[in-house]
């Protein structure tokens, strides 16, 4: 990794990173990448997020779904842990709660592959700093 030695460097890196993300999110082609974030703070892990994470990584590969699964922090919905966020290309992110391996399987099959929403959606109920 190269050192960032000026503010301009940092801005450039940031713009590149954002560009990549935008490309991914706005892509219409079905083969574009699916993004999944698994809430893996202490409360998520305690409720089984690790198992879900491993399941998603393994199964998406087995089932030939082009997806990136990453860990992220606490989404705030402790009552519904483990929680995952799924972003299909060109669509709004959807957060699912109470995700165990079985639920994860349903999400892959129905939502990721078929665009069909399944039970367990947690509506986002907050504003971000950019709203």
């Amino acid at each position: 990794m190269a050192k960032i030695t000026s503010l301009n460097d940092l801005r450039k890196i940031k713009d590149e990173l954002q560009q990549k993300i935008r490309l991914r999110e706005n892509a219409d082609s079905p083969e574009a990448m699916v993004q999944i974030r698994v809430g893996m703070a202490t409360s998520g892990i305690a409720s089984g997020a690790k198992e879900v994470f491993i399941f998603l990584v393994d199964e998406l590969e087995k089932r030939n779904v082009d997806a990136v699964v990453t860990q992220t922090g606490d989404m705030g919905y402790s009552y519904a842990e483990p929680t995952i966020e799924v972003i299909l290309p060109g669509k709004d992110p959807v957060v699912f709660g109470w995700v165990d391996v079985e639920k994860a399987d349903e999400i892959i099959e129905k939502y990721i592959r078929g665009g069909e929403l399944v039970e367990g959606i947690i509506p986002a109920n907050y504003n971000t700093i950019d709203d």
Partner: protein, 597 residues
């Protein structure tokens, strides 16, 4: 495979369920079937929208139409109009309370501003172990800007103008703290991040560190620049291994990028951050105790002044802020102090993160603008009380805070109003209690905590709180008298008046606030020997209802202490002097002949 044109999201939160959202689901499904739309539309029940006041909620995707106060009878119209004809049902749309206009796209609805995530902005969005993801969401831009164009004085001024106050509980103006530390003269100064989160039920600091460690690192570096410190220390409890791991990774990555370390952004400013581990003592959240603990001494507070800003870690000026406070800093610089100050109220700016816990449906982390009322937090964002029980009290401020009641529900959440109401902001634990909670026991629970967590240095806290706890114990056992209540109150005031640090000075708050707000419950315990919540075992009695008892002997046979007597087919009687109140008899009785009084 089905490719649905429409998804109808029906809120399955407790509030909406109580308003028949289940029937809405059924009826929507019926209508869809009858209209032959089964392969075009799917009904999905979701978690709580946090908008229970206007429930039940139905949201239609993909157009984000948001229907409120939907009744089962509206199902037909929604299907016929919206799905079949593609026209929105205007009368069910949400009306903006300010503009009085119908709003269609839920993204622009006022209620969404009940929560705004500033401190939690990246939690759940980025991979905390990947600095690139943080950078893509503006990490270190604020630091870059500060180093490129602001003097330390200007930096302090931005924080001052933002109106940010300490999120650890005390609410001291952050900018002023920075300013004082900046003005202290010394060859070395320190920035300390207080990550010794200790309030029961509070975990927002842990979540921020686990979800967005760079926000804290960046803020500490900004603070270092502002006060003239080149060293930062994060005091974190060893019970937070994941937070520690992610902080370490974050520090390493930031060092590798040169965003921490020597000559940051070529500005000549050096800043390094080290971790210091605490053993989880609650009192180490107090800044002087925290500093002593970091120095390797026993974690106990010393008298202030001198304040750490003048004489702190290793005797050098030290600025101590908590995690959530720091997490706000980069945003203040990126979006401007004015923007930040526009959120919240006159005296409390910005947002506050709360950990909702207890008898509330949506247990979790929320972040609301200052000034939001307790009612909004509990009944809208929190989804109301579990199992449809009645709300009794909400405890804020942890062991230092107090219990607020029904009459406080419309109190806006601000540092000062909460204190006026007899509680305090604290670090953000919010524990909701229902009718089954005995308020004397609640006070006892908190005292139990402070007795355990007192450092033992000053006598009022070490011994006084123990005595308070003992008196509460007496009361819950039904052995208290009016004199006990008298002493409880008097001693509480002396402890507040004489204790050395904040822990002791606030420890009696749960007692005083429950005495203020639930005096009748205390009276019932000492005069009527009764606990209305039924949680004080010593005050309960299992008795047999003569009319219902058939003399089956099931209770007597199963009683572990043989305290039930009676012949077969005769009325049975429980010997109260022997009964241990285990409840087995009640469980075994098939005739509902045993009740608790």
């Amino acid at each position: 495979m089905a490719n649905y044109k429409y998804h109808l999201l029906v809120c399955g939160g407790t509030g909406c369920k109580a308003s028949e959202s289940d029937r809405i689901v059924n009826m929507l499904n019926n209508e869809i079937r009858e209209n032959g739309l089964s392969s075009d539309a799917k009904v999905v029940t979701t978690g709580c929208f946090g908008f229970c006041e206007k429930g039940p909620i139905v949201k239609v995707l993909p157009d984000n139409t948001f229907y409120t106060r939907v009744t089962p009878e509206d199902s037909k119209e929604i299907v016929m109009e919206h799905l079949v004809k593609g026209r929105r049902v205007e009368r069910l749309l949400y009306v903006d309370p300010e503009t009085k206009k119908h709003i269609t796209d839920s993204k622009h609805m006022g209620f969404y501003q009940k929560q705004i995530r500033i401190a939690l902005r990246n939690c759940g969005f980025i991979d905390p172990e990947n600095i690139d993801e943080a950078i893509s969401r503006d990490a270190y831009i604020a630091l870059g800007n500060v180093l490129a164009g602001m003097t330390p004085e200007e930096t302090c001024n931005v924080v001052k103008e933002s109106g940010l106050r300490g999120r650890g509980g005390g609410g001291f103006p952050t900018g002023l703290k920075w300013e004082i530390t900046r003005k202290s003269q010394a060859d070395q100064k320190y920035v300390v991040c207080n990550a010794d989160e200790g309030d029961p039920g509070a975990f927002m600091d842990r979540s921020i560190l686990e979800g967005d460690p760079h926000a804290v690192l960046e803020a500490m570096a900004i603070c270092g620049w502002a006060i003239g410190a080149t060293k930062g220390l994060i005091y974190i409890r060893a019970e937070y291994p994941l937070a520690i791991k992610r902080l370490k990774i974050a520090i390493d990555q930031a060092m590798e990028y040169g965003l921490l370390g020597k000559d940051i952004f070529g500005s000549g400013f050096d800043f390094e951050i080290e971790l210091r581990y605490g053993a989880g003592a609650f009192v180490c959240g107090e800044e002087t105790a925290l500093i002593h603990s970091m120095e390797g001494s026993r974690g106990e507070p010393t008298f202030k002044p001198p304040f750490p800003s003048v004489e702190g870690y290793l005797g050098k000026p030290t600025n101590v802020n908590n995690v959530e406070t720091f997490a706000n800093i980069p945003v203040i610089f990126n979006k401007g102090a004015k923007w930040f100050a526009s959120i919240g109220t006159e005296r409390s700016k910005g947002t506050k993160v709360f950990a909702l816990a207890g008898k509330i449906n949506n247990v979790g982390l929320i972040e609301v603008p200052m000034g939001t009322t307790l009612r909004e937090v509990i009944f809208e964002i929190g989804g109301g009380i579990k199992d449809g029980k009645a709300f009794k009290a909400v405890q804020t401020g942890g062991p230092s805070g107090g219990c607020l009641t029904q009459k406080h529900l419309d109190t806006p959440i601000e540092y000062d109003t909460l204190i006026e109401a007899g509680s305090m902001m604290g670090s953000g634990g919010m524990i909701v209690m229902d009718e089954d909670d005995c308020m004397v026991s609640v006070a006892k629970y908190y005292l139990d905590f402070t007795v355990e967590e007192s450092c033992g240095k000053c006598s009022p806290c070490r011994i006084g709180n123990k005595r308070l706890h003992e008196m509460l114990e007496t009361i819950t056992k039904g052995e208290g008298t009016m004199e006990t209540l008298d002493k409880l109150k008097t001693l509480s005031h002396v402890i507040k008046d004489t204790s050395l640090c904040g822990l002791g000075q606030t420890a009696p708050n749960p007692v005083l606030s429950t005495m203020d707000n639930f005096w009748e419950e205390y009276l019932e315990h000492v005069e009527g020997h009764k606990c209305r919540a039924g949680s004080c075992k010593s005050l309960m009695q299992y008795i047999i209802i003569p009319e219902n008892c058939v003399g089956c002997t099931a209770c007597a046979r199963n009683c572990p202490v043989n305290c039930i007597s009676g012949e077969r087919k005769q009325l049975h009687v429980i010997d109260q002097t022997v009964c241990i109140k285990c409840g087995t008899c009640m469980e075994k009785c098939k005739f509902n002949a045993i009740e608790i009084v």
